[in-house]
Amino acid sequence: MLKTIKVPSHITEEKLVSLYKEMWLIRYFDEKVDQFFAKGMIHGTTHLCVGQEPSAAGAIAALKDIDKITSTHRGHGHCISKGANVNGMMAELFGRVDGYCKGKGGSIHIADLEKGNLGANGIVGGGIPIAVGAALTSKMKKEGYVVLCFFGDGASNEGSFHESLNLASIWDLPVVFICENNQYGMSGSVKEMTRVENIADRAVSYGMPGKVVDGLDAIEIMNTVYDAVERARQGHGPTLIEAKTYRWKGHSKSDAKKYRTREEEEEWRKKDGIKRFRDLLIEEGIFTEEKAKQLQEEAKQEVEDAVKFAENSPQPSIESLLEDVYA
């Protein structure tokens, strides 16, 4: 029995421990990608979610295995939390055949349909109507799953966001919209690009509940998402949740971050959600500092192993180029 933390009933102490490791796995994965990118070992582009781990891990921990997600261009965290293995992810970033998309998708197109991850998306707001459609399937086929739809503050100014929330609401679909407001859509700050105080305030327009949560508090996110997901599962329709968070890195490659100050970055780094989660679990007596360190090391090692796996995976053959355009 947990002393101070309230969590959904299916969340065990063991789950909280694994969640801690999961957040480090996300962080180390993206830190490693960042290093390889700088060295020119990964090409194309990539968007890192370092600093945003609690909103991915906390939100997805609230789901059942049958539930589905749609993700974004900044989606490595969502992917890991929904059960993808980092070997296949790293191999994809290396463009190899053992990658999740056989090397044809890369960072912004990783999907893991078996685990219910309908995919990252290279188009801002592109996944939002897709989540609505997946929720429609659940309703029409009575499959009982809920779709958790991730997107960013930038996407909330896309037409697809407004059309989708309205449609999901009038049809009472089992979908929960979660906006990871990391304060910037590339260089455009949310203050500059959006007049409302909270993106969650927009829920009013679509006749659904809107909730603001601390995006660095994995427990608060988990509880809020859990309530919204169960509400949706019972047929009461969608909720819009906004998690206030911050991306530590730039938007993608070659971002000099001229649009924000180093002081602002330092302020957010001090609020590191992973360390906060660790302190909470120690305080609860769920694990010791030594155990926490050990889990962190294990996560680091898993990423190192993923790199080895990726490096050893073959390049796709030129013959594979024309495969899979049509079913």
């Binding site: 998309c101 999907a111 349909l113 188009i123 459609g133 997946a134 086929k141 059309e163 989708s164």
Partner: protein, 326 residues
């Protein structure tokens, strides 16, 4: 055989499949009790109910995207897009999502959806409700593009489209909705990617699509009186294109005219001409190829101007004569 309209053939194809397959449903604007802007879905909500004939808000991006998401998770949606011009608003979901998801995922997942939409001019609906934009979609790997020209083809090709596991763009033509033809009552399928020779002839080949098939046939009747024997080939599906039937026809006649309503510049006719230019049929040509297509202007409102924008029977007759007497 029983005669029904092109519009009824489309409705019948959908209704027959929906009776067989619970996964098929239709979504779009005003498709419920209103019966759709052109009446194609009339009576369907009464038979299938509002769960399977889903009346939507005016939200083309969400309509298309919801269909993509539903298709990806096991349904087989049919989108009715009220006018094909509105594909502009649904384009991200069709081009960047539906067409590419399977490939981007390394062959995992499929997006079996049909987007039905009326195109073409001739109704006085002017510039934003009369376009023929099929060439845009043809350009996108991952999509299939179908353009039936009569009731029989419409029913059989729509059945094939609903059976297909890929996103299919199904172009209907507004002026064809009321045209009648022999259509079997039972369900049947026409293979996607099979052209149809609508009229056999030996002097000149006209490859025409949608409304132009009818205009080409009318021109052929006139020309027959002057002893010119015209063959009319209807590709029926633009992607995949039945190149072989077109090549064989041109090898036989040695002359080619391509006619479509879409703007000639960048139109699909250029693709057909290129197929011939790159094939062995090129050596058989006895005259330069002619392309007939829409003028490079937005479709005007005034009926005389509207008519003058797209090729008419007289234009086809003139082109055939120039080609034959080259």
């Amino acid at each position: 055989m029983r005669e029904i309209t092109y519009l009824e053939a489309i409705r019948e194809a959908m209704s027959q499949e929906m009776r067989q397959n619970e996964d098929i449903f239709i979504l779009g604007e005003d498709i419920g009790v209103y019966g759709g802007a052109f009446g194609v879905t009339r009576g369907m909500i009464e038979e299938f109910g509002p769960e399977r004939v889903r009346n939507t808000p005016i939200s083309e991006s969400a309509i298309a995207g919801a269909a993509v998401g539903a298709a990806l998770t096991g349904m087989r949606p049919i989108i009715e897009l009220q006018f094909s011009d509105f594909i502009t608003i649904a384009m991200d979901q069709i081009v960047n999502q539906a067409a590419k998801l399977r490939y981007m995922n390394g062959g995992k997942g499929k997006v079996p959806l049909v987007l039905r939409t009326p195109s073409g001019s001739g109704t006085g609906a002017a510039a934003q409700h009369s376009q023929s934009l099929e060439a845009w979609l043809v350009h996108i790997p991952g999509l299939r593009v179908i353009q039936p020209s009569n009731a029989y083809d419409a029913k059989g090709l729509l059945k094939a489209a609903m059976d297909d596991d890929n996103p299919v763009i199904f172009y209907e033509h507004k002026l064809l909705y009321k045209t009648k033809g022999d259509v079997p009552e039972e369900s049947y399928s026409i293979p996607i990617g099979k052209a149809d020779v609508k009229r056999k002839g030996k002097d000149v080949t006209i490859v025409a699509t949608a409304m132009m098939v009818h205009k080409a046939l009318e021109a052929a009747e006139e020309l027959a009186k002057e002893g010119i024997d015209v063959e009319v080939v209807d590709p029926r599906t633009l992607v995949p294109l039945d190149e072989e039937t077109i090549i064989q026809s041109v090898k036989k006649t040695g002359r080619l005219i391509v006619a479509h309503e879409a703007v000639k510049r960048g139109g699909f006719g250029g693709e057909i001409v290129s197929v011939i230019a790159e094939s062995e049929a090129f050596d058989y040509l006895d005259a330069p190829i002619k392309r007939l297509g829409g003028l490079p202007v937005p479709i005007p409102y005034n009926p005389h101007l509207e008519k003058a924008t797209v090729p008419q029977v007289a234009d086809i007759i003139e082109a055939v004569k120039e080609t034959v007497h080259f």
